[in-house]
């Protein structure tokens, strides 16, 4: 059997969760005898590569220069390369299975192309967020008010983008769904994401949930005993408007000084400098007194390989995102490192972290509620130990690959 794993980026150049998941699936398959001929095709935007061309990266790994030409209908920038270079590549490689991770940056035409060129090939598409459903970068957050969006509809979407009519949104949905019809099955890393796609129109029986895999780690979980209070909190991830760092900082300000004195918060994250000026200003205003006070440590960015070591220094991982999320990698990483998680109680976060079992929920976008959760976490004897004891070892890369293969068995 030969599988082709296609991703919208190569981890050599981009370290998003989706491409890492895709690449790990490819590595596991290739290590297995039966699938050793499997190949990896990643979309690239390298200026050195001719547009539309497919180029060897290293044995078994290829780069395809492609991009989005139309984010509204999710059309490829170079559709001739879909029926040209890609079609030729498919005909040459003739995989039995295609695992397609994501459609953004690749263009939805790729689904139809794969099945038209290779009708007998099984096409499994992994959904990584809501781009097909939501024209606002797939966030399902209202365009101007930034309110959470609970469902798409032609009229609601047109309200978010008044320059587009409901009819335009019908055309968008029709075009995307018509291409989605070519997939044999969809994989969603979370039940929440799956449900959103079902509501949008993918038949329920066509989507299964398979969580993203994590590296197997022998050191991940040591039993915790006693009732010693655990008061070190950590944030890991991008510092963007949607990750909710400002909610965490506001929560810290709301904690009574005598309690705050016992608490340490570490921020491990990059990209603050590329955010808008007002957001940078807000973070600066919030963090400055906390840093001076000694409560807050602004650690900054990290390499993926440093994560385990950095996480080992904190007791709790806080995920305060202000949007739904799908299945944030950081939650799986926290669990892999045996850390209970405090997260906003919505979407993929609420699904992955069980409130009062292996973590705590707080009301999304509510700093006061987060403050209360953090005070409870820092002050309730035995709580941390109880929650930690319930943390489940995340799915390994191997297990994840097995689940994928089970779909085509």
């Amino acid at each position: 059997m030969k599988a082709m794993v296609i991703a919208h980026a190569h981890p050599d150049f981009s370290v998003g969760g989706a491409e890492i998941a895709a690449y790990n699936l490819f590595r596991i398959l290739r290590a297995r005898d039966e699938y050793r001929e499997s190949i990896f095709l990643a979309r690239s935007d390298l200026a050195s590569q001719a547009h539309g061309s497919i180029m060897l990266r290293r044995p078994g790994e290829y780069l395809w220069r492609q991009d989005m030409g139309d984010w509204f209908r999710l059309r490829a920038q170079n559709p001739m390369a879909v029926i040209g270079a890609l079609r030729d590549f498919l005909k040459t490689e003739r995989p039995d299975i295609v695992f397609l991770h994501h459609y953004a940056h690749l263009g939805v035409e790729i689904l139809r192309e794969i099945k038209v060129t290779l009708p007998d090939c099984a096409l499994i598409v992994t959904l990584h967020e809501y781009v097909a459903i939501c024209n606002r970068q797939g966030q399902m957050v209202k365009n101007n008010s930034k309110k959470l969006c609970y469902r798409e509809s032609l009229e609601d979407c047109s309200n978010c983008f008044p320059e587009r009519t409901p009819q335009d949104f019908w055309l968008r949905k029709h075009y995307i769904q018509k291409h989605f019809e070519y997939a044999d099955a969809f994989v969603s890393p979370s039940n929440f994401l799956r449900q959103r796609y079902i509501e949008w129109g993918i038949p329920a029986e066509h989507i299964v949930v398979i969580e993203n895999g994590q590296p197997s780690s022998a050191t991940s979980k040591t039993a915790a005993t006693g009732t010693r209070l655990r008061t070190r909190f950590g944030f890991f991830g991008q510092i963007t408007e949607y990750k909710g760092v400002e909610i965490l900082l506001q929560a810290l300000h709301l904690i009574a000084p005598e309690v705050r004195a016992k608490v340490i918060v570490e921020i491990h994250g990059a990209n603050l400098e590329s955010q808008g000026a007002s957001f940078q200003e807000l973070i600066e205003t919030l963090r400055k007194p906390l840093i001076l006070e000694g409560t807050l440590r602004w650690v900054g960015s990290y390499e993926q390989s440093e994560l385990t070591q950095r996480m080992s220094r904190v007791d709790w991982v806080v995920v305060p995102s202000i949007w739904w999320e799908n299945s944030p990698m950081v939650i799986q990483e926290a669990f892999a490192n045996g850390k209970p998680v405090i997260c906003a109680g919505i979407g993929g976060m609420a699904e992955k972290v069980r409130d009062g079992v292996d973590g705590l929920h707080f009301e999304v976008r509510n700093p006061l509620d987060l403050a209360e959760a953090m005070v409870r976490a820092a002050c309730e004897p035995g709580l941390w130990q109880n929650l930690k004891a319930n943390v489940r070892t995340p799915l390994s890369f191997e297990q994840c690959a097995d689940s994928y293969l089970a779909l085509v068995a």
């Binding site: 059309r75 032609l154 055309l171 029709h174 075009y175």
Partner: protein, 607 residues
Amino acid sequence: MSTVFVEPVRRSSPVVRRTRNGVAAGVSIDRVVADGEFLAISGWVIGGQDLTFTVAGSDGVSMFPSLTFFPRDDVATGYGIPDHRVKGFLATWRSRPRGDMQVRLDVRAGEPLGIDLSTPEQSRPAELAQFLAENLSRARFLFEGLLHNPAAISLLVNHLDEQPALNRARGFLETAKGIEGIGGLVVGWTVGEPDVNFRLVDDRGAVIALSGAARWTRRDIVDAMSRDFGDYTFNAAFLQRWSGLLNMGGRIHLIALTDEAAYALSQTKWSAAALDPVSFARWSFEIPTPRETFAERLANHDGPIIDALIERKTSRRRKSPPTIQEYGRQPAQPKCAVVVPLYGRHDFMLNQLLAFSDDPDFVSGVELIYVIDDHQLVSPLAADAPMFEASFGVPFRTVWGGENRGFSGATNLGVAHSSAPFVLLLNSDVIPVAPGWLERMRSILAAHPEIGILGARLHHPNGAVQHDGMGFHWDPTLQAYLNKHPGSGLPGSPASAKFVRRQAVTGACALMRRQVYESVGGLDEKFLIGDFEDSDLCLKVREKGLEIACLPLPVTLIHLERQSLSGIGTPTFRDYVVRYNAWRHQMRWGAAIAKLGAPDKQRADSK
């Protein structure tokens, strides 16, 4: 009887008969003017009863003048007789004999008294001017007496006073726009007492009364004029069609006629109106006559001009063959032609072709024709079309006629360049969501020769019915039948494989036999922008004794028609276009539709 020979164009010596008691009778010709057809004689009589002018031309025909009398106190004083015994006269002829002629003036005054005139010669301009100046207080008489003498009218108008005395009338010409050979529109305002008549007069002396003008009330005129004119300021603004000849740059005058006099209130020059009918309508529909009388205004004023402009445009269509591009292998013996005009955007093709690619009929057996009806789409489509064909595998052709023709013109062009025995008219924003519908429609039509047009139930994106046949409804505001979509927006009756008879169906998706399409001349290209041509087509087919039917498909064809914004807020241009087309449709089909009866009656008559 004594007669006096008078030298042409000279002031004559009076002929006076005296008795012992003084002056008994007299007659005098003060002035004889002639200008082309125009002939006028002024003078006075003393003691005369009847004035008889005998005009003898070489053909012997005598022509009677229009006559008016007026006091001549100066003559009475000069002869020392009472005022009432003298009357001035002014005689005008609408036309006079060509060539040599003789005029004899006889006065019955006890004994006959008379004057003979030989052929009057063409008057010099100064003499004409002098004559008109002397008779300005009788300008209304001159004006009306000379209505059929354009040269004389024109001359008169140039001498009229500009301001009427006594505040009896005011007026102004805002603009006059026209097209040589077609006519124009004059826009302005008048205020005056009800017995003041207003006329438009051009340089050539052609006259149009403003009694039939389309009028509306201008707030600024009411504010400025009501102190002097009170309620007469309402409906001051007017729009008047000029149907005669006109020459660009020539002048047009606004004339007010009071009991006696005539006044030139305002003048303007003809300027060129847009030749393009839509551009012309964009200008003329801005002229804000009341909506409730729009149909009447169209009939009397701008409607015929727009008709003529549309006629002019369609008759000037380029005759060169269109540019046809083929993409993919075209079917050798197509069963059906599908003709889709493209205007404004072509991204609908992505969705249509993607949907067609699922339908075996479209992959082979259908002659798919996209008619480019927008010069801005030519290049983008040429760039995308090869990719569309390669991606979707649906063969198609593009036809570009070199100019925008509107829905009708584009469809007719596409049909003319297809060959299949059946023709489907399809809008680009109708997107199928299931295959097989075209063949189903075609087989029904093939089996029912009594059906002339088979439409289809179309749905809104939300699954509600968008079109399920059309019915004609009388609109009292527009005074015309409109075609309505009964049941639009609602879930609709259960889908059925049996067709239902309808009064009409939409042109967004209409299947016909080619022979029927051609026998009625296809779609009428003379509606403005595009509207009503589908019901017009249905009525033409009905006239041939064929029926109109609609197939109540399940949700298969989504029609993304944007909701019309008419009926709310300020009337838009689009709204007036509908009114124009409704008026044109009504002129042609009002009687035929009235005979059809209520659409509900038809609806019950299903098969």
